[in-house]
């Protein structure tokens, strides 16, 4: 029963945080120099003050930011995220379309990198000091040090330029077949996977090394348990605890930090949508995009906390 109350509490906290986040965005964005009307009119905005004012009224951005926010909130809870100022179309469909695209990158990357990094991390920890561990450590170190916009181009040069296996740009076309989809997604997913793999792998290895030094692991060995059982049944479970937090953070990164990868590969995901929105000073679009991203990130953290509780009996009681 206590668990239930805890979950409800966390959910409320989540919603409160998101609310605070959206208010914060609104307030901050109101400080942006220039607004959507100026962006739309471009060079003409200086010429005709009347046209500018009329456009502002039509777009509804002549109101103070908190009024705009209240309106937005009203519609948002009903699922209507308003219209894009720059594109003059409803936001919700575009947003979720782009979100789906990003998830097409993030989910395969997560699915591949998480189990693989667990395996590598454990392997490196168990064989600490040996050549294979040095190898894994070196590779993961380089992996976290190479930024996405360095790795991406390198992959493009190798796989697209020389080997010509994949296209260098990943613009999605509606109704692409599965093979085409695979070709387009391959390099960006590979980039994301490599970064995640390196990051999580290092954390898993460090956590595992610590756990293997624990008194209860020592005791398990002194009870005569075979090493494999010691590692799997005793060490692994306990070192998963801190790893869960790391994985959650990484999923958040996969959703938020993917903006760079999308730029490198010209991929129409939610990150590039946000960049576009910022350039256009398209407040409703910015609001919606950031909100959805933050929501995904917070949800990932909440799931991590739940998993942490599930794995740690001390917290369950």
């Amino acid at each position: 029963m206590k668990v239930f109350y805890y979950l409800v509490g966390r959910l409320i906290l989540l919603l409160a945080t998101l609310l605070a986040v959206s208010i914060a965005i609104s307030a901050i964005m109101s400080l942006l120099p220039g607004d959507a009307a100026e962006q739309i009119l471009g060079a003409w905005s200086e010429r005709s003050g009347a046209t500018l004012a009329a456009l502002r009224t039509r777009l509804g951005i002549d109101q103070p930011w908190y009024v705009q926010y209240a309106d937005w909130l009203q519609m948002a809870v009903r699922g209507d995220l308003g219209n894009s100022l720059a594109l003059s179309v409803p936001i919700t469909p575009i947003l979720f379309d782009r979100l789906a695209n990003t998830l097409l990158l993030a989910i395969p990357a997560a699915l591949i990198s998480i189990p693989l990094s667990l395996g590598l991390g454990v392997w490196g920890a168990v064989r600490k000091g040996r050549p294979i561990d040095h190898g894994i450590s070196a590779v993961t170190l380089v992996g976290v040090s190479v930024p996405a916009f360095v790795l991406g181009p390198i992959l493009i040069v190798v796989f697209s330029g020389y080997l010509q296996w994949f296209p260098s740009s990943s613009g999605l076309i509606q109704g692409s077949g599965a093979t085409h989809l695979f070709l387009i997604l391959a390099l960006p997913v590979l980039t994301l996977t490599t970064e995640s793999l390196a990051y999580i792998g290092r954390m898993v290895r460090a956590s595992m090394i610590e756990t293997l030094k624990s008194p209860y692991v020592r005791m398990a060995r002194l009870k005569g348990l075979p090493e494999r059982q010691v590692v799997l049944n005793h060490a692994l479970r306990n070192s998963l605890l801190p790893t869960v937090t790391v994985i959650a953070f990484n999923i958040g990164w996969l959703i938020g930090g993917v903006v760079v990868v999308e730029q490198v590969f010209n991929y129409p995901g939610i990150g590039s949508l946000l960049l576009f929105a910022i350039e256009q000073r398209d407040l409703p679009l910015i609001q919606a995009t950031v909100f959805v991203t933050a929501a995904a990130y917070c949800t990932a953290n909440l799931l991590a906390d739940i998993a942490y509780m599930a794995l740690n009996p001390r917290l369950r009681n």
Binding site: L141, P147, F149, V150, G256, V260, Q263, T293, A294
Partner: protein
């Protein structure tokens, strides 16, 4: 892997040594790169544009004929200034918040930590993006934005270090003899939080480089004609297949810098953790 040769360096882990050397080189470049550069970094030289590495231009030239080596060396300062500046900012802010939050506890702690949580509800890059969009691009604004984004992480580390020390007997002894709060915070607690703080600072430094360089890549950080490495890559990414050195030179520099910082951080962690277990 330990270095066994020089007696003084006997117990220094290899990663610490290599990391410090690499970071040291970049710091040196940051300091004197501008003077050492063989060519003027702003000098256009259209006749030599996009030429591959050669005896005149060791690392080739970019689309305006500017010497890549010179821009690389000068760019070290830009990148380092942003990275160090933002980490310094987040250190100062994070220390103040963390110390007060950890020591006072109660409502103050709750309020401060909730605020930190809200800031941490965003992936770092995203938040930095937003802040920089508001403030506008440029070096100073990038420092501000990255500094703000990293403050909560530092605050958390400081706070948890303070919390773990607060129950220590020597702190209670200080309270019992009537020491003021300021004394306890700054003379008793502060000297003891260095180890985790230093390690975290190193981690932040490597992320600071990553985020600021990413921002510049996206066009929201440093602005042309600054020879900032991320900016150089972002502007020239279309040249990747035709004139790869224009992109690869700054790319490799960035990677080496981050690699060096990470190794330094790993080495520091080993040394500082080892000191604890020695007791």
């Amino acid at each position: 892997m330990r270095i066994h040769s020089l007696r003084i360096l006997r117990n220094v882990p290899g990663s610490l040594l290599v990391g410090s050397i690499v970071v040291g080189i970049f710091l040196l470049l940051a300091a004197i790169g501008h003077w050492l550069a063989p060519y003027d970094i702003e000098q256009f030289n259209m006749s030599a544009r996009l030429s591959p590495p050669s005896p005149e231009h060791w690392l080739g030239t970019d689309r305006y004929g500017r010497d890549m080596l010179s821009r690389l060396m000068a760019g070290a300062r830009e990148t380092m200034v942003i990275a160090v500046g933002s980490v310094a900012l987040s250190l100062v802010l994070g220390l103040v918040i963390g110390l007060i939050s950890g020591y006072r506890g109660g409502l103050v702690d709750g309020a401060l930590m909730r605020t930190m949580d809200i800031v941490m509800a965003f992936p770092s890059l995203l938040l930095a993006l937003l802040v920089v969009a508001v403030l506008g691009g440029g070096t100073l604004n990038t420092i501000l934005s990255v500094g703000i984004v990293f403050t909560p992480k530092i605050a958390r580390v400081v706070r948890s270090a303070v919390l773990s020390l607060r129950g220590a007997a020597f702190i209670e002894a200080a309270i019992l003899r009537g020491e003021s709060d300021t004394h306890v915070l700054f003379r008793e607690i502060f000297p003891n939080i260095f180890p985790p703080l230093i390690v975290e600072t190193c981690i932040r430094l490597s992320y600071a480089v990553l985020v600021s360089v990413s921002l510049s890549y996206l066009g929201l950080g440093a602005q042309p004609p600054t020879p900032e490495w991320g900016l150089m890559i972002g502007k020239e990414k279309s040249l990747l297949l035709s004139a790869p050195w224009v992109v690869l030179v700054p790319a490799i520099a960035i990677t080496l810098l981050i690699l060096g910082i990470n190794m330094l951080g790993d080495g520091l962690r080993e040394v500082l953790v080892a000191k604890k277990s020695h007791d």
